[in-house]
Amino acid sequence: MSRRTDREKYALPRGVFALIQGVFLVSLTIIILVPLVAIFIGTFQDGNAVIRNGITFDINWSELSLDNYVMLFTDSGPYFRWFFNSLVLTVVQVAGTLLVSSFVAYGFAMYDFPGKNAAFISVLLLMTVPFEMMMLPLYVLVNDFGLADTYAVIVIPFLAAAVTIFFFRQYFLGIPKELLEAGRVDGVTEFGIFFKLVLPISKPAIAAMAILNGMIIWNNFLWPLLVLRSPEKFTLPIGLNTLLTPHENNYELLIIGAFFSVIPILALYLAFQRFFVSGMTAGALKG
């Protein structure tokens, strides 16, 4: 019944519409992927040439070589150190942020208490304050207390992340209070309810926030740049940036290193992709 009504509403036959849509989307996809493909090809080229001539369609196919790959795995100097630093830092910071932010969000979602509105409004306000605003005074503060050049100072100020708190709160609001009551009747502590009853059923939100935070933290550049002093602590984006200086640059490593830096986060995304949309849907954006 409805199918017939639908068909009447289309200006074009369904097949044609689908075809146009398909072609359109595929073209867009190709355009979007061009920069990435270009850098991929760049990994096979001479770094200096790429910087001199820019990325170009004129590819000298005979000059492509695996030299850069060999270099990456045998002689890339600090690259894998940076990679490893980023990996560890990302895992720890994402886990920490999810834990702490969901913890805080639970408090906002499940309880009524004096001062709740004021506190939540400050979450909202904080969401709208870009980090770049605070970076200078934070930087001064960190240095005054001699806390610079540590991973702790990269992680701790952002564990209670306003956006993540907001998301989790929205999600938790959808959890029926009966669940909590049941827990209390069973003699579980308030915290136990959170950890043992609520978190396990929040997987979509956790997955969505894991991707969102992972993306941001893996690529985090500005704050670690200001705060880290020792070259052996550098994370990947900072390390790659140091290859850009005119003194003794290493453009090959820059290009191939940049390309490889996308891989872990891409893997994370592909793994959790299905949860991402459902998590976002179930979460923040309901009216």
Binding site: L124, F221, N241
Partner: protein, 299 residues
Amino acid sequence: MKKLLYSQRLAPYLFIAPFLITLAAFWAIPLGRAFIMSTQEVLYGEATFIGLANYERLWNDNVFWRAMYNSVRYMVLTLILLIPIPMALAALINTRLGSERIKSFFKASMFVPALTSVVVAGIIFRLMFSETESGLINQVIGIVDLGPVRWLREDIPGLIALLALAMWRYTGVNIMYFIAGMQSIPSEYYEAASIDGASKIQQFFRITIPNLKPTIVYVTTISIYGGLAMFLESFMLYAGNSSPNNQGLTLIGYLYRKGIEENDLGFASAVGVVILVVIMTINITNLSFSGTFRKESAR
């Protein structure tokens, strides 16, 4: 002790404690210091009080106003480009038509640019928009006999390159937000409308958009402060903080130049305070305008 853990009255305070501590230690205190430092001149760790002199200097500095202009211009343009277009694309994908495989592939690909770091993306775009004839973009426009354009040396071409970078990175993300928002609209609304004889276009404007309001508000808000606070994209594109005639200098870029590059901490603090006031004003206006405060307080 045990009683504390079971106390329903105390529990919420303990839950939100980490947030409150963070707020105090890492936001309120630095903010306070920024206010104080903005009235000082700071050299080698010694601070001298100079009243509002920093603000006066700021008011008279043409470079600051140029940065303000650049940031506002960028913000407005990203709002125009990065809300309607992703919304339309999301609607396109959200229909029951078309190959699911193509759509999935499209969604995944659109999102990948957001996964690259700004460092990487900036480098790639700088190389693509190279001023030489062989630069990728110059080759593309060469097909229709235009150019070569010296992209990053002139204002409007530079702006185009910057917007291209922004669109490349964030269209996919915004599409995701809108799809998520659209999927939470009950399909009964659409079915009822179809039965009533509404066309797809009418349904889009009468059902989809109004129901997407929270999503639209959310995306608008983050785009506003994302646009005003944009720094790294421009920094990477212009390979540093200096661009011809400061065409690429944003508010935060100006802050970075004064605070970190020129080490004029007192002055930079004043800049920070001004930027903060501007952003907070815009955002509070935006949020109260859309009723967010009222609604959230009422929960």
